[in-house]
């Protein structure tokens, strides 16, 4: 998809919140968090929220970078690879203790949660989302 900034923000927030939320509900019980389920849910949902909040900021940077491209496009693979910088930043913030409500998180639990969620959102945005929302791709990724 070729989003506009508004479309990027809407898609990021809605798809991460709804689809990411469902996925987090499903995957948290099997994550090697070493913590009670209630505690794990709290951590995974705060991490998901962080992906959304920081993501909104990242989107402005990506939008800026798009301006240097003649086609004003965003190659499909970049949508996947930006997970690397975004994931690393969140991991750094967790370890610095700067994400409120999140204590120590085992590395594998974070990697599994973040990577699967990211991949799911990327894959859905690059195809299946067009099935229920036929106008979404022509509207620069806007739902509203």
């Amino acid at each position: 998809m070729l989003p506009t900034l508004n479309g990027r923000l809407q898609s990021r927030i809605l798809v991460t919140a709804i689809l990411g939320g469902i996925w987090t509900l499903i995957i948290t019980p099997v994550l090697p968090t070493g913590a009670p389920l209630g505690e794990s849910y709290k951590t995974t949902f705060i991490i998901l929220l962080t992906v959304i909040v920081l993501g909104v900021l990242w989107e402005f940077l990506y939008h800026f970078l798009q301006q240097f491209r003649w086609e004003k496009d965003w190659p499909t693979s970049w949508g996947l690879f930006t997970g690397i910088n975004e994931g690393l930043l969140i991991w750094l913030l967790i370890n610095l203790g700067w994400i409120p409500g999140v204590g120590q998180v085992p590395g594998w639990a974070f990697v599994i949660q973040f990577c699967t969620t990211w991949f799911l959102i990327w894959a859905v945005q690059n195809g299946p989302l067009r099935v229920p929302f036929i106008r979404w791709r022509f509207n620069g990724g806007r739902f509203l």
Binding site: L2, T4, W70, E71, K72, I134, R135
Partner: protein, 522 residues
């Protein structure tokens, strides 16, 4: 006046019953009585689409999926199948079914959702692991590590055929030549069809509909003046050809004896013609020499500032598709939609210009040709063409940056694709003259964002148009597969607002997609 005397207008001696009368021809808005007086049979139907090419097909596909029954739609066309003209043009311009088009993976005229994309479908139809992985890798890494994925022409045609059968498209088709569309007093339109001789009792049939959609494609090909002059003066259609005309004889001749070809143009057709020439050269060990002439010669990236630089080099301007990719839904679509008049024309100018996709195999061939000395490129504009000494070959007189120059060649393949004015089409000329249609800043049919032709409304009816005759409107990519779908969706949504059909929401969309995926008829 005595009652026996016929009305002068309806009884002109040349008019037979069931034909257009001078009264009809001269009247902008027709009453039912006028049509009845002319003896033209009237067929009422809610929706008429004129053209029957891919533009009509895609629009009918949308409407059928939204829920319009086939009986409420009539397609007026001279074509047997929607892709007939398109396939003819691609084939003669050197894209047979096995070669790839210049179209995005998600732009599928047979699938309004664009999912699965052509790449995904190609992968799942593969017979080997390599053939399975390649399209997926291609769409994943495009356009950075690989060139844009593009579907084979054959894949586009065969999938369209499948969808055509699924939606029962041919049920709606009525063959013939459309002569005109006129507004009807009391609302809606009359579309006059001339059926094939002998196919109907009258010369004309009038389709009376609330809604009309016009998608008649390119009004025609226009040859540059130098080429026209040569044709007219020397009556030689074989040595100087336009790439959109059948010109297989050029390749045949070059296989018989070595020759030199001048290729004019820097678009995709020039690229394809060069590929054919070089493929043949390699395959049959020919000694074909090629000179390519660009009117605008790009030596590198070009554009007005760092945010608007298009890649280029060796004469070419490189761009993935006909337009920068974001015109089909991204930033440029949004930007263009806000522009009017001169500002819009200017924006078209900036992103327009002839260009070709960046394809590694093409670049390799030209690089090889350059280093081995059988291919060269230059800047120049043709002044005139004349037969060579003793009638052999052609001499091209050109103006270049370094002054006048003459070049001899055995063949000239002209790859400029100028489109004729919309007046060349009788239907469009009639719309301009009688139905209130106007021209947009690019000189084509002026449509609004819903693809309604501005000025032609006949309440409660509406007249829409899509495809290349509307180029220059608020949405730029109209003459592309995806552009036709964007137009069709706008039209279908507009018709939904008018209550003709129910808008397609997420639930019904999923259900309809599931039917599509299982190839279940609608």
């Amino acid at each position: 006046m005595s009652g026996d005397q016929p009305l002068p207008q309806s009884a002109a001696p040349t008019t037979e019953p069931g034909d257009l009368t001078p009264e009809l021809i001269d009247t902008d808005i027709w009453t039912d009585e006028m049509v009845a007086r002319a003896g033209i049979p009237v067929v009422p139907v809610p929706f008429v689409t004129v053209g029957g090419g891919i533009g009509s097909f895609v629009t009918v596909d949308y409407l059928r999926i939204y829920g319009v029954p086939a009986q409420q739609i009539v397609v007026l066309t001279g074509l047997d199948v929607p892709w007939q003209s398109y396939e003819y043009l691609t084939r003669v311009s050197q894209i047979p079914r096995t070669e790839r088009l210049r179209s995005d993976s998600q732009s599928r005229p047979d699938n309004i959702w664009g999912f699965p994309s052509y790449a995904l479908s190609e992968a799942f139809a593969a017979k080997s692991l390599k053939e399975f992985l390649w399209p997926l890798w291609n769409v994943f890494t495009e356009p950075i590590l690989t060139n844009y994925f593009t579907p084979r022409a054959g894949q586009a045609f065969s999938t369209m055929e499948k969808e055509m059968n699924r939606i029962g498209y041919l049920q709606s088709v009525r063959k013939g030549q459309v002569r005109m569309v006129r507004r009807r007093a009391g609302g809606g339109y009359y579309t006059i069809l001339t059926p094939p001789a002998g196919a109907a009792p009258t010369k004309r049939i009038a389709y009376q509909s609330q809604y009309v959609h016009i998608a008649i494609g390119y009004p025609g090909l226009r040859l540059l003046k130098d080429l026209q002059d040569y044709r007219e003066r020397y009556r030689d259609p074989t040595k100087v050809v336009n790439a959109y005309e059948p010109h297989e004889q050029v390749y045949d001749q070059l296989r018989i004896r070595p020759g030199k070809v001048i290729v004019r143009g820097g678009g995709i057709v020039a690229s394809r013609v060069l590929q054919r020439l070089i493929d043949d050269r390699d395959k049959y060990n020919l000694r074909t020499e090629i000179l390519q002439v660009f009117r605008t010669f790009y030596t590198g990236p070009h554009g007005k500032n760092v945010f608007n630089r298009r890649p280029g080099g060796h004469g070419w301007a490189y761009q993935g598709f006909n337009y920068p990719k974001s015109v089909w839904g991204g930033q440029l679509k949004e930007k263009m939609a806000k522009l009017e008049g001169d500002a819009r024309a200017q924006a078209y100018e900036e992103m327009g210009g002839t260009n070709t996709p960046f394809r590694k195999d093409w670049l390799e061939q030209l690089k090889r040709g350059r280093s081995q000395g059988w291919y060269r490129e230059m800047q120049g504009a043709f002044d005139s063409l004349r037969p060579g000494p003793n009638g052999a070959g052609v001499v091209v007189a050109m103006s270049t940056q370094h002054g006048a120059l003459e070049e001899y060649a055995d063949f000239v393949v002209d790859c400029t694709g100028l489109e004729a004015d919309i007046r060349e089409s009788r239907v469009l000329a009639d719309l301009l003259d009688h139905s209130g249609a106007g021209r947009n800043p690019k000189g084509r049919l002026d449509v609004n964002a819903q693809f309604e032709v501005i000025g032609t409304r006949s309440r409660p009816g509406r007249l829409y148009a899509s495809g290349s005759s509307t180029l220059g409107g608020p949405f730029p990519g109209v003459d592309t597969f995806l552009g036709l779908q964007i137009s069709a969706q706008e039209i279908a949504d507009d018709l939904a607002r008018l209550g003709f059909v129910k808008r397609l929401g997420p639930g019904r969309s999923i259900a309809q997609w599931w039917r599509w995926a299982r190839n279940r008829p609608i």
